[in-house]
């Protein structure tokens, strides 16, 4: 008997998902797919990322070979023209006629284009497919201004796309009196509008477009109130229309305002024809999100394989980032008193609006809206869906717990097993936990492969990660992050052990907590821990230092070293510059300005290092710790002392901060920056900590870095005074020093930190762990015990003796260290 044939009309996200779902349930069908677009199914939800450098391939939901691997016949660029229901055949544009046993219509939707005079002009686009995006992109090259018609979700997405394309003047035109009227309430819309206006978007509400004027090409928009707006291009995003023309032609029942009518099994008025996704009309409603579309796909797959599953409507909760602003709406967002009680939080300063609707008895959460900060979205949605009983102070859900020990809710592990975590793929908490328990999954990538959770919109990923970690923790099974074969501890664990037991040297630490004789991995880690805790002169334990720390200089090609004296904040006197010049000349050193506003002298022989430093120290220089996992530089711009734009004295602050943290050992190098105004000439946002002057004080950013994976620092606190900056920095740096893995920069540390920036902010700013004072004290102790290690080395004959290449011929230099001339200086001989 031949396999029953299923023809899928449409190769969008939902059409593709149907194939996947059906294959997962059965391989007893012959699947044939027809797509109208030239590409196989791609991720339309993240379409705007196409303008952020993602390629069409990146957006693809599968490889092309996936279809043939699964014996699916795929016909692209070939729309179905006709369905013959009596013969049970379809007929395509390219002339293919095929017989079906079942037909699945996943024809999606098209952009609704209102009937406005001039709509056909050049420079007017819709925003729907990759082809649309390519047309928009081509037009944007010569456009300075652009408008989006429609202030809904898609309209704002399109506005973001225009901004990304470099359109400096982007307008949003909305017919209704507010933005996103379907998702958020009026106060939320106001807040969103304020935020978006601040970001440079021009928003026009209550505007009805009467005509599009221009010769051949769009010139301006004319509104019903007789006002005009000149623009170079227009993107229409005024809503969607279900693609039901094929169904209508075949005589299937469709809604009066469009949409193919389906029952709870997604069957149309012809039981052999199903409709799913945005073309389907269920109980008078079109579901314009991907998650319900996927659910519909699964219901058809279930029905075809005789499994019992029905559609009962769908939770339209959603969370997005619109032009960098979080917007979320969940559960019953619009219900009002007296049917519920409402808790509101509004912060116009930061642009945050939060609303939760709770039952009149205060026991359950019904729904809500979040603008500007939607970190709590996942947990709030779970609280609604699982009818979790609210804590006595439900406001904690949106405000965070403020002091006291009460932690809002019981966290992710408190959710019931059937709580739906990934709504796109319908993955429950139970499925995620069992993938960890039975499937041996330990990370998000493994989880995506195993359960597909997090592969749709991606919104649940933080929650999934929490569940993986929580389940592993509950099993007492957590990935041991050990230092090396000699220590069965993470750096943080060893740090605490060394501290509690007051161990002061490497051998003691190894004897107590390690095995074997150590190695080049654990020795520097322990050296760093000892230094961060006790701040003794590192060269007293020279043999456990990494080679650069051992000789307090950076080893370079040929075995010579480079010397970097500290130049705090990049400020240096002419006299000191002269000394550097004289020293470099005397010892034959190559000089170069570094990226951190100081001067590096290369090519120093080991035995010359103490002599060089003696001269530098006499002139008032100190070690720059360029060789250490320690504070390098605090870069500054010249600030208000000279600059006509400068708000505050950034150089003085940079010097103060650099002097405060110099010499302190950390898991990795630390760099800082201080800018005197928002122009940010010190590039402080690319540093581990960055301080930027504002009208009212300073903004503090943390956890940025340059290097191979650049990452911008994130805002920790706004408009704070200098004392508070230092207080937060003390806490932040000490917290990092105590908890990070070895060789982990602050950015990577933050990326791995559970709860990310909001957690860090809580610890540092709100002192949620109650550690603030202790961290400050520990930092102060390190500051108080600062010493210039080069001064110590130069003044100790025993330490000086170590700076010899030949221990039996201390005055001889390594003859293998050789140089070649280059631009009036020398360079190391190539190896």
């Amino acid at each position: 008997m031949s396999k029953p044939t299923i023809i899928v009309v449409g190769n969008g996200m939902v059409g593709y998902k149907f194939c996947e779902k059906l294959l997962a349930r059965s391989t007893q069908f012959q699947i044939i797919v027809f797509g109208e677009e030239p590409r196989h199914a791609y991720d339309r939800v993240h379409l705007s990322e196409y303008f952020n450098g993602k390629t069409a391939d990146d957006l693809s939901l599968s490889t092309l070979s996936w279809y043939s691997d699964n014996n699916i016949a795929l016909h692209l660029d070939d729309p179905i023209q006709e369905i013959n229901r009596t013969e049970k055949t379809i007929h395509s544009l390219k002339g293919i006629t095929l017989k079906y046993d079942y037909l699945v219509l996943a024809t999606g939707s098209s952009a609704f284009v209102p009937d406005i005079p001039g709509i056909e002009k050049e420079g007017v686009f819709v925003y729907r497919t990759i082809e649309d995006l390519e047309l928009i992109k081509a037009c944007a090259v010569n456009a300075k201004s652009g408008a989006v018609m429609g202030g809904g979700l898609l309209g704002l997405e399109a506005a973001k796309a225009l901004i990304d394309l470099g359109i400096t003047e982007t307008h949003v035109i909305e017919f209704a009196p507010r933005l996103m009227p379907r998702q958020i309430d009026s106060a939320g819309s106001n807040m969103l509008q304020m935020k978006l206006s601040q970001l440079g978007l021009y928003i026009h509400l209550n505007k009805s477009t009467a005509a599009i004027t221009g010769d051949k090409k769009i010139h301006s928009l004319k509104f019903n109130d007789d006002s005009q707006l000149a623009v170079d291009m227009l993107v229409i995003s005024a809503g969607i229309r279900p693609r039901d023309e094929l169904a209508k032609l075949a005589g299937l029942h469709v809604g009066t305002r469009g949409g193919i009518i389906v029952n709870e099994k997604m069957q149309t008025s012809d039981e052999y024809i199903y409709a799913i996704g945005e073309c389907a009309l269920y109980e008078g409603m079109i579901y314009g999100l991907v998650a319900p579309g996927y659910e519909m796909a699964d219901i058809v797959a279930a029905h075809l394989t005789e499994a019992d599953k029905s559609f009962y409507g769908y939770d339209m909760s959603t969370k997005l980032k619109l032009i960098g602003v979080d917007v979320a709406s969940f559960g019953d967002a619009f219900i009002t008193e007296p049917d519920c009680r409402t808790i509101l939080f509004e912060d116009t300063h930061k642009g945050i609006y939060k609303r939760i609707n709770i039952t009149n008895d205060g026991k359950n959460l019904l729904g809500g809206i979040l603008i500007g900060d939607a970190d709590a979205y996942n947990m709030l949605l779970q609280t609604v869906n699982n009818k979790i009983v609210l804590p006595p102070d439900p406001e904690d859900l949106i405000l965070g717990s403020r002091g006291g020990e009460a932690n809002a809710g019981a966290g992710v592990m408190g959710l019931p097993d059937d709580a739906l975590i990934c709504s796109c793929e319908a993955v429950t908490k139970g499925a995620i936990c069992s993938a960890v328990n039975e499937g041996g999954v330990t990370g998000i990538d493994g989880m995506k492969k195993c359960t597909k959770a997090g592969t749709g919109c991606g919104g649940c990923v933080p929650l999934v990660k929490d569940l993986i970690a929580g389940t592993m923790k509950a099993n007492g099974q957590y990935i041991k992050n050990v230092i090396c074969e000699h220590f069965d501890y993470s750096r943080q664990e060893l740090f605490d052990l060394v501290k509690i037991n007051e161990l002061k040297n490497y051998d003691l630490v190894l004897d107590h907590y390690g095995k074997g004789d150590g190695c080049e991995v654990c020795k520097p880690v322990v050296a760093s821990i000892l230094s961060s805790l006790w701040n003794d002169v590192i060269v007293k334990q020279e043999v456990i230092q990494d080679s650069n720390d051992r000789f307090l200089a950076n080893i370079q090609k040929g075995g010579t070293y480079s010397v970097v004296p500290r130049i705090p904040g990049g400020e240096i006197t002419p006299d000191k510059l002269i000394v550097i010049g004289q020293v470099a000349k005397k010892y034959g050193l190559y000089t170069k300005i570094t990226g951190g506003q100081r001067i590096d002298m290369f090519g120093a022989h080991l035995s010359d290092l103490p002599l060089i430093w003696e001269e530098l120290i006499d002139a008032g220089f100190e070690s720059g710790h360029a060789y250490g996992k320690a504070l390098r530089t605090v870069k500054s711009c010249v600030g208000s002392t000279w600059c006509r734009f400068g708000l505050h004295d950034s150089v003085t602050f940079a010097i103060e901060v650099e002097d405060r943290y110099k010499g302190i050992r950390a898991p990795h190098k630390i760099k800082g920056g201080v800018s005197g105004c928002v122009r940010e000439c010190a590039e402080a946002q690319s540093k581990d900590f960055g301080i930027i002057a504002t009208e009212k004080g300073w903004n503090l950013y943390v956890c940025g870095n340059g290097g191979s994976k650049p990452q911008h620092a994130q805002l920790l606190a706004t408009d704070i005074d200098k004392e508070t900056v230092v207080k937060y920095l003390d806490r932040f740096l000490m917290f990092y020093i105590k908890t990070a893995d070895q060789l982990t920069r602050t950015a990577t540390w933050l990326n791995k930190l559970d709860g990310g920036m909001s957690y860090l902010k809580n610890v540092i700013v709100n002192d949620s762990l109650g550690l603030g004072e202790q961290l400050e004290e520990e930092m102060q102790a390190l500051v108080n015990t600062y010493h210039c290690e080069w001064k110590e080395a130069v003044n100790s004959p025993a330490l000086r003796k170590r700076f010899a290449h030949f221990i039996n011929a201390p005055d001889e230099k390594d003859p293998n260290a050789q140089f070649e001339p280059m631009r009036e200086q020398v360079r190391a001989k190539e190896w």
Binding site: D507, D517, G518, C519, K523, V543, R802, N808, A809
Partner: protein, 116 residues
């Protein structure tokens, strides 16, 4: 065959010239020899000072330690952390590199190295 070549013992340095659990370099004619005072194990080792990876005179400045269950003594070159067995001179990584090793004797607070 090797036994037929007479080992010549040279006085390299004093015991306290080499830091505990660390190394120093001595000059022997045109040769550079790295000496390691593995005091944690009460052992001494000597190898060529040249790291064969990038031809750098740096092995003596490397960190020493042990590898594996057998606690094979090893040294890591400070340049790119290539590690070599202090017993055999073989590279413990995947590379086909090796360094020369020398026997070491301690007498009267002095370090002697056997060269041949």
């Amino acid at each position: 065959m090797e036994a037929a070549i007479a080992t010549q013992w040279i006085m390299a340095c004093h015991v306290d010239d080499v830091p505990e659990n660390g190394g120093s370099c001595i000059k022997h004619g045109d040769e550079q020899i790295a000496i390691f005072n593995f005091s944690r194990r009460n052992e001494w080792y000597a190898t060529q000072n040249l790291c064969p990876h990038k031809q750098q005179m740096a092995i003596s400045r490397g960190m020493i330690g042990s590898a594996g269950e057998t606690c094979e003594p090893k040294v890591a070159c400070p340049f790119h952390k290539k590690t070599f067995s202090l017993l055999t001179g073989e590279c413990l990584g995947e590379e086909e590199l090796a360094i020369k090793t020398y026997p070491v004797k301690i007498a009267d607070g002095k370090v002697f190295i056997g060269v041949y």
